[in-house]
Symmetry: C2
Subunit: 355 residues, 2 copies
């Protein structure tokens, strides 16, 4: 290998369950991408954080996790969650502790339909870019329980929004929309019912829009947005919404487009002070763990997004084209109607990539 | 008319926009139901609350609205909202002020597919009963804004859950499930991210389940629930969720089943201390107001649910059958592929009812 090649240092955190299998598959595809390009190399370091680590050490993440991660260019993440640890513990102690506190505030979830939509629509109608506010709102972590176990027990969760936090995600979303052919942004909200944070959300959207005269935009309530996705998918291009709203809408979008198994999620720090984190949308799926049947495309697409973020657009495009090709040829796992296992499905993508 | 007939006193609040047209249509169908049954009569009193009333008097509801409404057996509601009043004002001052403070805590939204689903599924797969907690949670109204207009502005909305509030909606939902042929309840939550209120939600679900050994039940996260609705609709029967979660899922469900224009919403006080309120799910739709083209089925189905609640099951069933019949014959409005206007579509249902 040529020593003048740029080296990207990647932290690979497979985590739990099928996270381990799909991350392995994604690393295989990254190797093929390196081979094909010849311009850069990737040095992936395995980091064993996850439920096994927690059971050994008592924490999901070591105290100095941020400084450890700072030395990497990006993070490739699998999944977290295990049947014997409550999800609100495993997720808050690992995944959500990286997303929020590391200021990975822009969560980008592209939707593409590589097969047949589950709706009466053209595949091309399902080419969307969903942008999720990833650092505050419903996932602020504020709240508590009083009078536990009494009949008059009260529990609260407070959604915290800041003008700063909304402004930066709106800027990011308008910018993302301006780079797409249709240049249209839909701002999702629920300001008719949530009278404080989401009224501020709408106000900041309106202000930010002034700085992007080339982007057309509209507003949609989150409930009505589900109807629009089903009934008028062609009216949608880029979408921005709160942490919870896009959590819900991105799963719906992936299902309508064919399979949740292929959807990727990029957790970005647009200011590039922290390494960004790339993961499949699906979780650890313990029910199919170890069977070697998990769909690797979500993790592979996430790896492609990572290359794009690092500046390797050509490699990213090549991986996406290879994904489109294997989907078209049904060289995919059973959840998408194919008969390949995880390794074979990844190998099919590598093969197509190197053709 | 026979003086021995029972008289139901109904408060009719058409409200704004197409609310006025569809309520008129629903009242026509109620007249036909009375005629067909011969066992009861309905005395509907028009109450003019809505945006016009607000512009005249400065409030959406008079101060004594609760005592006014207490003298009725039920409320037939149209819609509220006008382009020149911010939605968070009109809705909180009228609709949400009746739902929450009147303790109409059980919001019941049936889904049926009278035409063709928008999915690759059988119409019979889309026979669901969605139960929405209607008095607390995300719609508690707690919150505020600090440092308004400053760069460091903070806005909060607090979701407030009580054990009492969760317990009563769970009891209601398990009971509702136990009365349906499949006796299955799905409890929707997001307790992996919302660590206080929704963890309590899950705990109370588990406790309540013990009292209903004849009901099978499972849990689903709200994001995953959208996938299940799209991919495995036949696994769903009765569903219970928070105020916001079912707000979103019920719009999605109605869209998947064919049309949001037919979906009804019953806002019930199961303790019968207050009159319950029946409305279509759709809003005031100012864009089509006055054109006479609004789909009246949502309001008519809501009226059928009202009769059911009042004990007139036979009439309720007859209206539902008439709705199914006109949908099948395409004697419906344009949004459902027919060519009737609002009045004609209602007349077709009356005609079928009286056959
Ligand atoms: C696992 C869970 C906490 C997570 C979320 O809600 O953000 C997941 O659903 C996602 O969409 O990434
Ligand atoms: C109009 C709005 C406040 C309302 C809600 O969010 O409850 C509506 O969407 C509904 O579903 O009844």
């Amino acid at each position: 290998t040529d020593s003048s090649r740029h080296v990207y240092r990647i932290a690979s955190i497979p985590g739990d369950g099928i996270g381990i299998e799909v991350t392995e598959a994604a690393l295989e595809v990254l190797k093929a991408a390196v081979q094909k390009s010849g311009k850069y190399t990737i040095e992936a370091t395995h980091i064993p954080w996850g439920t096994a680590f927690y059971k050994e050490t008592g924490s999901y993440l070591p105290d100095d996790f941020r400084s450890t991660l700072k030395s990497y260019d990006a993070i490739l993440f699998g999944a977290v969650g295990a049947p014997d640890v409550p999800d609100h513990i495993s997720l808050w102690e690992l995944l959500l502790k990286m997303r929020g506190p590391m200021q990975l505030y822009a969560n980008v979830r592209p939707i593409r339909c590589f097969t047949k939509p589950r709706l009466d629509a053209e595949p091309a109608h399902l080419d969307w870019l969903l942008v999720r506010e990833n650092s505050e709102g419903e996932y602020s972590g504020h709240g508590g329980r009083s009078h536990v176990d009494q009949n008059w027990e009260v529990a609260t969760d407070t959604n915290v929004y800041t003008r700063h936090g909304i402004r930066r995600i709106m800027k990011f979303a308008f910018e993302a929309a301006s780079k797409r052919p249709r240049k249209h942004l839909t701002v999702v909200s629920k300001s008719n019912a949530l009278r404080y944070g989401l009224v501020l959300w709408d106000e900041v959207a309106k202000e930010t829009a002034k700085d992007f005269p080339d982007v057309t935009w509209d507003k949609e309530l989150v409930d009505a947005m589900t109807i629009r996705m089903v009934q008028k998918p062609w009216t949608i291009d880029t979408v921005v919404g709160t942490n919870l709203h896009i959590d819900i809408l991105s799963d719906l979008a992936a299902a309508l487009a064919g399979s949740i198994g292929i959807a990727p999620s990029a957790n970005l720090d647009p200011e590039r002070q922290n390494p960004s984190l790339f993961e499949p949308v699906h979780g650890s799926a313990f029910d199919i763990m170890g069977k070697g049947i998990a769909n690797p495309i979500g993790a592979i697409w996430a790896a492609a997004n990572m290359l794009e973020w690092l500046g390797e657009q050509e490699s990213a495009d090549a991986i996406l084209n290879a994904i489109a090709h294997v989907c078209n040829e049904k060289k995919v796992t059973a959840d998408m109607g194919g008969d390949l296992n995880t390794k074979q499905a990844a190998a099919a993508i590598c093969e197509q990539l190197l053709k």
